[in-house]
Amino acid sequence: MKSLVTRFFRVRELPVFIALVIVVFITGSANPQFFTLSGFQDVTLGVAVVAVLAVAQTLVIVMKHIDLSVGSTIGFSAYLIGDASSKGHGFWYCMGLALALGLAVGAANGFMVAYLKLPSLVVTLGTLYIVRGVFNEVAGGNTITEDMVPGPINFMGLNTFFGIPYLFLVAFVLMLVVGFVMKRIRSARDLYAIGSNLLAAELGGIPVARRVFLAFLATGAVSGLAGAVLLARFNTAAANSGNGLELSVVAACVVGGVAIAGGIGTVYGAVIGAILLQAITMALGALGIPQFWQLAVNGTLLIAAISLDRYLSTRVKPTSIMGAK
């Protein structure tokens, strides 16, 4: 029994969960509206996009990589869906287009990182801008309006399932599925090994390149498909859609315990982190702090999360006199 308790306290996601509870209470006391159903729906709706992307990003970050191109991909995808739909194509065609875009970007990233062994920071920074450039060129000054959004997507964006917004359910279900896979499927465990000690993984016979490639491919695919979520959320898409999302996504993951150094973290933590960031954003709104500060706050939170993580990890090192040489 005792070991169960100690194991509970060692759970990496605990601090962020506690932080979330605290923030929720603070916000709720300042603005009792928060505790109502509509308050709950506001939060879950607001967090859906970032949560979906954060689940995918976790795959990449545990391998000690990063994918900065997700914002450009999801924005471009949202636009493509609306554009294709307005030209008369059916729902599945539009989704297929979105998936194709995501896979293309993911494959490009994956190839350069996994097989050419290039640093993922640089590669995804490059694809971020290339995709955005192409996106801006294709979109020009056009905007996708509500009437151009495919029916099913519109439906998802507006409706709830027993009070829970469908968009959030998408994120939640994705989290459950990916979370299960990361814990229980052998080939997924390799991702943690790769992030924890790349050299040992290579020597140990793990097909590193293949895993890395597939992880980036998956992230790309999710970013592509998530264009539907973005479109459903805002009912519009234009050349600036998705700009800057990568920051929130990375912040959500790090805050949620997915270490930048790789090897540790779960999608559950990433989603909690996303919710926490969303809650803080709304708390600031409730406290009357102008929009402008949002960006600054997000940045500060990311720094705070990394600092805390670093502080906690240095405390774990053995300090005994008979310690390591």
């Binding site: 920071l121 801006n136 060129e137 930048i260 990311l302």
Partner: protein, 324 residues
Amino acid sequence: MKKKYTFGWDQGVTAFLAITVVVGSFVSEYFANFDNLSFVIQDIAEIAIIALAMTYLIIAGEIDLSVASILSLTSATIGFLFRNGTSFEMAIVGGLLVGLLCGLLNGYLVTVVGLPSLAVTIGTLALFRGLCYALLGNEPVNELPENWIVLGYENIPGTFLPWSTIPLAILAAIAWIVLHYTRIGRWTFAIGINPEAAKFSGIPVARMKLGLFAMTGLMSGVAGVVYTLRFASASPDGAVGFELSVIAAVLFGGVAIAGGIGTLWGVLAAVLSLGAIRSVLQLIDFSANALLVVSGALLLISVVVPRAIEIYQSRRKSAFVTKI
């Protein structure tokens, strides 16, 4: 070996610059003249100035993604101070100070708190940009003193060079000499190659890195001053995405992302190439979006090519080397 590849890279970039210029003059009759050269220098001045400092930082094994936000914050500070009654000269000093402080913050978080520079500067990128909006709201400051604005668009009397050439040339010369011929430069390379051995060799690693981040912040500040004068306005959303061009130029110039390798001439040639390409694209009426694509492509090329060369070379000979 590695040294050979660096020399090869330098020559490669110079060749690339030459080719771009030649191609440019064929593509458009307006390319190869002094007016255009003046324009190109104006265009890349800020990027070049920041790239000088970024070169050191990346060679030392770190990176700073927040430089564009620092540039903008400097500009916003100048606007804010001036709008609230400070003299323009003092506002510029204030702006430079802000740039330095931002760099020191980055440096502190990396060297004292011990955070990875990639993650930290993603955070400060947002933080500093957010502060721009906090300072200016959504309104740019457009009424700046005339005698200063002139420096932004006029040339040095009697030449075709814009005023911004002066800070650029001086800083570039200093940067080049220091990197390749002084102790500080040697230390920078050493830290990039092996920070632990650097410490054990008596090199003050933490102090150096702090200094390099501070310098990067200051250079971003200088770029911010140049930027403000060029556009004759201080606004909170300026220079978005500049960090990409800076990093692309530095990497394309032969500085290895892992650190420990690079030359300053390579970076300068890369910056000039970037400027030349932008100019050509504008002259043939490509949209601004093409620029994003080109910068991204250059960035990728600058890391793909050395890797491809490495793979090719290692296929030709064995990896093991003679032990004496």
